[in-house]
Symmetry: C2
Subunit: 469 residues, 2 copies
């Protein structure tokens, strides 16, 4: 593609995206296609000769778009948000344009140094403990997802628990145990399986029925029993804003218990953590000064396109110990001198994209105030929505909602609750998802799309009313 | 960022990238900055208020660019290439703009269906066995990197070897063994550590000194001895285009041996595999009809920006068995009906970016012919470069070079060889890296940047001559 062609098609793509956002509200949020429908409309074989770019934009519009569930739609209330934003899109575009691969400091020093800087900036914006700053023994790194963060936290924990012996000898299944609440994201169980401990190593903590938060007494009892039975507790994962209902675990208490048994404490605040940009929401950080690692996703609720997970450790040595291998073909003077960070040693893959650019772009474009405004707006809308639910006898709020996730059910039971969800989602006018709490279905309304305004939340409430009429 | 601001800054970024490529050749390939230099020139704290976008482009130009090692430079001959291209950049930009998260079919059907389609297209373009097509029991998926592919292949292998018991019981360290040659990428050892087997589970196969290819007889002896000693061989990894010198392992023979012991055969063709778009290079596919999984990176040598690793399995059940977990909050009608692919079950993370768009864009823009031309040009240049090396008494070629990687050394020994490399790299006029073979240093010239023409390779040869004068 010549320079002129790139400029021309580049402008077309930029305009396509701008047009997409301008028309987004009129599209059905949840794609209504049947399995196989999209593929069927595309050629079964690749072209022998190159085609122009116009066909791609045409097919995108005509064939792909009906198969898209619009995560950026202002009436997307499902799962958790996955924010995109102009500055993130353009920051990522710059990364694509440069096309550098920052596996080592030496393979693009600026990619590593900017990442270290923006992770320090983000730690400052969230008021995280000093131990997570790169000037300490710890530091931050961008991972692909909170699942990757959970996995590398587990690997670091097992490395530390085994005194490094696991790197050669393996995890000796049946020895190490992991603890987390029944409300924690499934990524922790997946990490146990990937890391070779098996899901049998995972102990699920009971939760407080009102708050859905992990019960420290249950952790204390399980730790004692496991040690008594010859197990080595390696990791406790606390959730700050658990997936089901946004529950907040008592991080400090869990950390103290973990440490009294030599276990690592990792905090998964994938969705909620970024809300600590707001002073009044800093309760989210309670106990963090005691933890070993912490993760939150700018790619969920902080305006930075997927993938951009922020992961910090208070001590980087066990992490690097678990993940570093230095084959000859990657050796270089800077690495040998030990004077630089090589982020390949902080992650599962070797290669890495220059993702710091998009986070840098977001933090500069919005500034602390812009980020606060973004979060505060959604929290206020969620509180208002929750007040409508609370005031209506047909509904029941099922969990606290201090942030922007409201979970509720119909008092009439599971069937009407599911029917309500299906009616809303198949209307195309809004999209929400569910969870199960104490065996009963609950609907989740997660407010967090950058374009969501009061009228969209009001629209959802009216849609709920209409669906039940 | 308003729609108008996005259009304006978007055009600026597109033009910045086009200008960057137009001026790329005049920049030093390898960044010449010292550790800490880039960070020192940036503000230590994040801004309180939002800034405009202009400052980002200005800092990119003035501060970041000197810290960039230019992977797209036509005189980048280091490691392996990491191709960017106009259609890939724009395809990825479209993915950023849409901002969808394709973890489940339901969360954007088109993201899943287009990925399945382009993986089938790529399998067809590379003439891969029918078992890798989605219409069979197998299929393809885009992973982040070949390291991720090696890890999930190992997880699938252990799942199959343990009859699924490892998911609950763990890997029972000391039971499962893994085999690969000393020339294979370090990702295999890393996967053994991550998956909890430990590096002690990895057996390194001897290589043929002339071809650097794995010795099947050595594999046969080790398999027999390990089984005799009570181990369960789980995985054999064959390399097609190993990192050091591009060695080609005898895939078919290794696969037969692996299967005779119930082990999984994974082929890592991260760099070389894509060259099979050319008929005359289909020797790369020898034996693939016998393997369990195969990986190659369009993000290396096939014009598709990082990250885009292509991974295929001949049977998807062990892979999904190893990686699937279905919490309530991800349940949906399409998944429950079993009628769709949910790619989250084929990978480590949960979330996923719409990476199929950039691969689709590349395959359509270039077509089979354009991709062939790209590969053929580099192979021809490498053959010419190798002929110059071979004709000069001061040098020695150290391995076969059927593709576009030429490895050689100075007959005068390690010190002059290293000095030559350092002189070239510090000149900024070209960048190449090294490996060690049989205890001796060798230089690697990997030709594969989209902009590399004969004059750049000739320039490297002249630079070598000048450096030794």
């Amino acid at each position: 593609m010549s320079s002129e062609e790139f400029r021309r098609h580049g402008r077309e793509v930029i305009d396509w995206i701008a047009d997409y956002y301008e028309g987004l509200e009129s599209l059905p949020v949840l794609s209504q296609v049947a399995p196989g429908e999209i593929r069927q409309r595309l050629p079964p074989h690749p072209p022998a000769s190159g085609e122009g770019f116009d066909g791609i934009l045409k097919d995108l519009q005509d064939v792909i778009l009906p198969g898209i569930t619009h995560w950026q739609h202002p009436s997307f209330f499902a799962f958790f948000p996955a924010n995109a934003s102009g500055p993130a899109i353009l920051g990522d575009l710059l990364a694509s344009g440069l096309g550098v691969q920052g596996m080592l400091w030496a393979t693009s020093p600026a990619a590593t140094e900017l990442e270290t800087l923006v992770m320090d900036w983000l730690a400052e914006l969230l008021d995280l403990p000093a131990a997570f700053h790169s000037s300490s023994a710890g530091g931050g790194v961008i991972q692909s997802s909170a699942s990757d963060a959970a996995l590398v936290a587990l690997l670091a924990a097992v490395h530390r628990s085994s005194g490094g012996a696991s790197e050669v000898g393996g995890v000796a299944s049946g020895r190490f145990t992991v603890y987390t609440s029944s409300q924690t994201h499934s990524s922790v169980e997946k990490a146990c399986r990937i890391a070779g401990l098996g899901s049998g190593a995972l102990r699920k903590l009971d939760v407080d029925p009102a708050k859905q938060a992990a019960d420290p007494d249950h952790l204390a009892r399980m730790l004692a029993a496991d040690v008594e039975a010859g197990y080595t507790p390696a990791l406790v994962v606390a959730s700050v804003g658990a997936t089901g209902t946004g529950a907040l675990d008592p991080v400090g208490e869990l950390a103290e218990l973990a440490h009294s048994y030599g276990a690592w404490l990792h905090v998964d605040a994938a969705w909620a953590g970024v809300a600590a940009v707001c002073d009044e929401l800093r309760f989210l950080n309670a106990g963090l000064e005691k933890v070993d690692s912490y993760t939150t996703n700018p790619h969920k609720w902080l305006l930075t396109n997927f993938d951009c997970n922020a992961f910090w450790v208070a001590d980087r040595r066990p992490l690097i110990g678990a993940l570093s291998i230095l084959p000859e073909y990657l050796r270089n003077a800077a690495t040998d001198a030990g004077s630089v960070i090589d982020y390949r040693d902080w992650q599962v893959p070797l290669g890495r994209r220059f993702r710091a650019l998009k986070l840098w772009s977001v933090l500069r474009w919005y500034g602390a105030e812009g980020l606060q405004q973004h979060i505060r707006g959604h929290v206020a809308l969620a509180q208002e929505f929750a007040s409508w639910v609370a005031a209506d006898d047909r509904f029941e709020l099922v969990a606290p909602h201090p942030l922007a996730l409201v979970s509720f059910r119909l008092r009439a039971g599971d069937e009407p609750t599911r029917k309500l969800m299906d009616t809303i989602n198949s209307s195309g006018r809004a999209y929400l998802t569910h969870t199960v709490l104490d065996g009963q279905l609950a609907l989740r309304v997660a407010i967090g799309s950058p374009g969501t305004e009061r009228r969209h939340v009001l629209g959802l409430w009216e849609l709920i009313a209409d669906s039940m009429a």
